[in-house]
């Protein structure tokens, strides 16, 4: 006894009645089982119903592949109901990836040639939706015949099927190009629309076709003109615009034909002006046509006046209430801003207004366009607007906005002072979002503007005092204070308010930066360097207390000063280094120093420091007792390469000795591949930090420094052996020697 199958609507109700996913799945699985059984049993009467149910279930995302063959059977049936749902099934389930796809070709062929136009329509629709290349080749001539059918219903579908066929098999253009001329005379809008689409496809695929169809530009112009000037038509008007779909399509084709072609462009000039001025803009349909007109004007060789008209239309779009219209306007204006700059400039105020859009995609477009509109005459006003935008804009736009402002400032800055102010403001507002080169650019800018040094340093000092978190700003400020600190303390500067700044405050601020957990290593470097510079440039008493508080950062910073001073003072000094007479005995570094070598000479009394006037931070004369400063030692010299040692005993750790090895090269040739190794007696612990480099540049260039940390818990006498290897004057050099004359303070 066959249970009557569920009607489609009943199934839908049952599925909708399911309260959970699981329940729905159950209902569907049960029904699918019935459907499969029905397919197996081959019930022709209800096949269409079963497939309809299957298609509904497929739409919900459940598998329906087992219905594929049923589609074929239904398509082949003589009943229209069967065909209708069968073809729908084919379109949903039988795309060209499926094996059974090709099997529908024969049915389509039969249906194309039989007389009922609804059936022909179904076949054409399926062909144009899922037709494979092979199918298209097979059936091209059938479709070509249908282009001449008396029924306009069939003709319009045949034309669009031809469009699909050409997309799949471009060679079929040969078949479908000739009928176009005739089809353009159609009065039926649907056929006309399809024909224009067909011509567009033909032109896009073949330059020869493009050339051929330029002939029809006058005809197209006429068709469009008729449309535009026709009054209200019940059938085709949308919001007072005659068939906007057809108008837009004609405009698109005109665009393709008029591109790079003076003559065609000229032919359509008046018409475009007419459409642009006469189209009703109160509703979206009119705006759609206008928009297409603008796009066409932009792409063809339009007269200047027409281009201005297009830009003005876009400008009006910007004022429209509808967000979508504003969006397409901004996008299009961005495309035109290079080619029609002055025309777009006229709408600058409106564009700037759009920066305030709450919608992120709109404000982004507005930002891009605003940046493109900055020029030398509006740079002040625009920068002002962009700066206030920067303050409130969404985070993902900040980086673009900041770099845009900086770029614009660089290109169009009216004065240097304005430029500095602008960059300063950007760094204050959005410091974390600027690119890395902003710091370098600003320091270079300030450095080059001598007349603004005082102004810059004061402004930067104030900014830094307010906020030490924005790294680029802090870096520039630190650099500036280091360079021009003397100007900062001098007092008045006409361009800013009088600011009494004391040394202490400046140093305290830099120290704050140094110690802040927000400061990046690079920032600390800047602060440290600034402090170094200030220590030479500031006069007056330098409280040791301030200097003490600073933690000893192991950096090359201290070495700059040292090297400079020692370079100046060394030239007349006798070399202190004496190569060990018993060098052979000491070739093995590791063998050298052990605890029992008390036989070694006691270290000589420390000699006066060679770099006597070296300004070392811890050497500064001060009132209160400071940790004793240990004089430096020149330990090596050969052909212009000099090696100096400087010593520090940090007060908190008595067993620790820090030695900084500095290699400086006064000769005419670079020293390369420079490596310095050290050895100490076994009771000591030695740690070598990585050197600052391996090339000691000639002519007293930047020295190479290296830090040695030596732990001497037993306070044993220090002995130190050094081994140097390097290339100099084309020769490789190796030197091994023990350091003599180590001051007793280094280990006592």
């Amino acid at each position: 006894m066959v249970v009557p199958s569920l009607k489609l609507q009943d199934l839908i109700e049952e599925i909708r009645g399911a309260k959970t996913q699981a329940q729905e799945r159950e209902v569907i699985q049960k029904e699918c089982a019935h459907i499969r059984a029905s397919f197996r049993d081959g019930d022709p009467l209800h096949r269409h119903r079963q497939l309809a149910k299957l298609l509904y279930v497929h739409m919900l995302g459940y598998p329906a592949h087992f219905g594929q063959m049923e589609c074929l059977k239904l398509i082949a049936s003589p009943r229209f109901t069967d065909k209708r749902v069968g073809y729908l099934g084919a379109m949903l389930l039988l795309d060209e990836r499926q094996d059974a796809h090709l099997l529908i070709t024969n049915s389509i062929k039969n249906d194309l040639s039989q007389g009922i136009q609804a059936v022909q329509g179904l076949a054409l629709c399926t062909l144009s939706t899922v037709g494979s290349a092979e199918m298209c080749r097979d059936l091209a001539t059938e479709v070509e015949k249908l282009l001449l059918q008396p029924s306009s219903y069939v003709r319009k579908k045949a034309v669009l099927t031809a469009v699909h066929m050409i997309r799949k098999v471009p060679e079929l253009s040969n078949i479908f190009l000739p009928p176009c001329a005739q089809l353009l005379h159609e009065r039926h809008h649907g056929i006309l629309l399809g024909t224009i689409t067909l011509i567009m496809e033909l032109c896009e695929r073949s330059p020869a076709a493009l050339k051929h169809f330029r002939k029809v530009v006058p005809q197209l112009v006429q068709i469009l003109r008729t449309l535009v000037t026709t009054g209200y038509s019940v059938e085709h008007s949308v919001s007072g615009v005659s068939d906007p779909f057809l108008q837009v399509q004609i405009l698109r084709l005109l665009r393709i034909l008029g591109q790079n072609h003076e003559e065609s462009s000229e032919t359509m000039n008046d018409l475009l002006a007419q459409v642009a001025t006469n189209t009703d803009t109160s509703r979206n349909a009119g705006n759609a046509v206008l928009f297409e007109t603008v796009l066409t004007i932009m792409d063809i060789r339009a007269a200047a006046g027409l281009r201005v008209l297009a830009v003005n239309i876009l400008g009006r779009f910007l004022l429209n209430n509808d967000r979508n219209i504003r969006y397409v306007a901004l996008t299009s204006l961005l495309r035109m801003v290079q080619s029609d700059h002055s025309a777009v400039q006229r709408h600058r105020p409106t564009v700037v207004e759009c920066l305030r859009e709450p919608d992120a995609s709109l404000s982004r477009r507005a930002l891009e366009l605003s940046l493109a509109l900055v020029n030398s005459s509006n740079v002040r006003a625009m920068t002002q607007e962009l700066q206030s935008f920067l303050e409130s804009c969404p985070p993902d736009l900040r980086a673009d906005c900041a770099s845009g402002i900086l770029l614009a400032a660089e290109r169009f800055a009216p004065t240097k002072r304005w430029h500095i102010d602008t960059i300063l403001r950007v760094l204050t507002t959005a410091g974390t979002h600027v690119r890395d080169d902003a710091v370098a650019n600003l320091t270079q800018l300030i450095g080059g503007a001598q007349e603004l040094h005082a102004y810059s340093v004061r402004r930067l000092y104030s900014a830094l005092a307010d906020d030490i978190s924005q790294q680029p700003l802090v870096q520039v400020a630190a650099w500036c204070i280091g360079e021009y600190g003397d100007l900062l303390l001098e007092g008045g500067c006409e361009e800013t308010e009088p600011l009494q700044v004391e040394e202490e405050k400046v140093l305290a601020l830099l120290e704050k930066v140094l110690q802040s957990h927000m400061s990046l290593p690079a920032t600390r470097g800047y602060a440290l360097t600034a402090l170094m510079k200030l220590s030479t440039r500031l006069r007056g008493d330098n409280k040791a207390a301030i200097l003490e508080k600073m933690p000893l950062v192991e950096r090359g910073g201290t070495q700059d000063e040292e090297a400079k001073e020692s370079k100046e003072a060394q030239l007349s000094e006798a070399a202190l280094v004496a190569t060990e007479p018993q060098a052979s005995k000491l070739l093995d570094l590791l063998d050298l120093l052990d605890g029992t070598s008390g036989a070694a000479q006691p270290p000589p009394a420390p000699e006066p420091s060679p770099g006597g006037t070296l300004v070392h931070l811890l050497d500064l004369p001060c009132a209160s007792p400071a940790p004793a400063s240990i004089p430096n030692l020149r330990v090596f010299e050969r052909e212009g390469l000099q090696l100096n040692l400087s010593f520090v005993r940090p007060p908190g750790t008595p067993a620790l000795l820090l030695i900084t090895v500095t290699a400086i090269n006064t000769s005419g040739a670079d020293v390369t591949h420079f490596v310095c190794q050290a050895a100490v007696p076994k009771s000591f612990q030695l740690q070598l930090q990585a050197p600052s480099g391996d090339t000691v540049p000639a002519q007293g260039g930047l020295p190479v420094t290296q830090l040695l940390r030596i732990l001497n818990p037993n306070k044993a006498p220090l002995r130190l052996k050094l081994r140097l290897t390097y290339n100099h004057f084309g020769q490789s050099v190796q030197e091994i020697f023990e350091v003599n004359n180590l001051p007793v303070e280094t280990w006592q």
Binding site: I12, K53, R79, V163
Partner: protein, 133 residues
């Protein structure tokens, strides 16, 4: 525009029960090679994918025209009409758009074509005034 069919698979304009994303009015998503529209009419959501070079504003008109066709056919269309007559929604679409291009710009002609087909269906059925499927 409209459908992406053939080897990309058919993705028609329809109301898919699990597909809906709750959006406000018309929102536009730009992908690399097509633009995705979402339109809301009361409780009905329509989504549509078009190519980059298609006129965005016209796409809004196209969606609107489709809704009007549904409305004219069903008479004051609502969500349930489309759910219980989903195959009709497809048939109506097939009279408006074919192979991704507009085929008929007259509302009257489009609806008449569907009604004619319906008549063809009905006369072939043995039972009148009963749901076909």
């Amino acid at each position: 525009m409209g459908r992406v069919s053939g080897e990309e698979g058919a993705s028609h304009v329809h109301c898919r029960k699990h597909h809906l994303q709750v959006i406000g009015c018309v929102i536009v998503f730009y992908f690399s090679f097509f633009v995705f529209f979402l339109s809301r009419y009361a409780s009905l959501y329509f989504c549509c994918a078009v190519e980059n070079q298609d006129n965005e504003l016209l796409t809004l008109e196209i969606v609107h025209r489709y809704v009007e066709l549904l409305d004219k056919y069903f008479g004051n269309v609502c969500e349930l009409d489309i759910i219980f007559n989903f195959e009709k929604a497809y048939f109506i679409l097939d009279e408006f758009i074919m192979g991704g291009e507009i085929q008929e710009t007259s509302k009257k002609s489009a609806v008449k074509a569907i009604e004619d087909s319906d008549m063809l269906q009905e006369t072939m059925e043995e039972y009148m005034n009963k749901p076909t499927f």
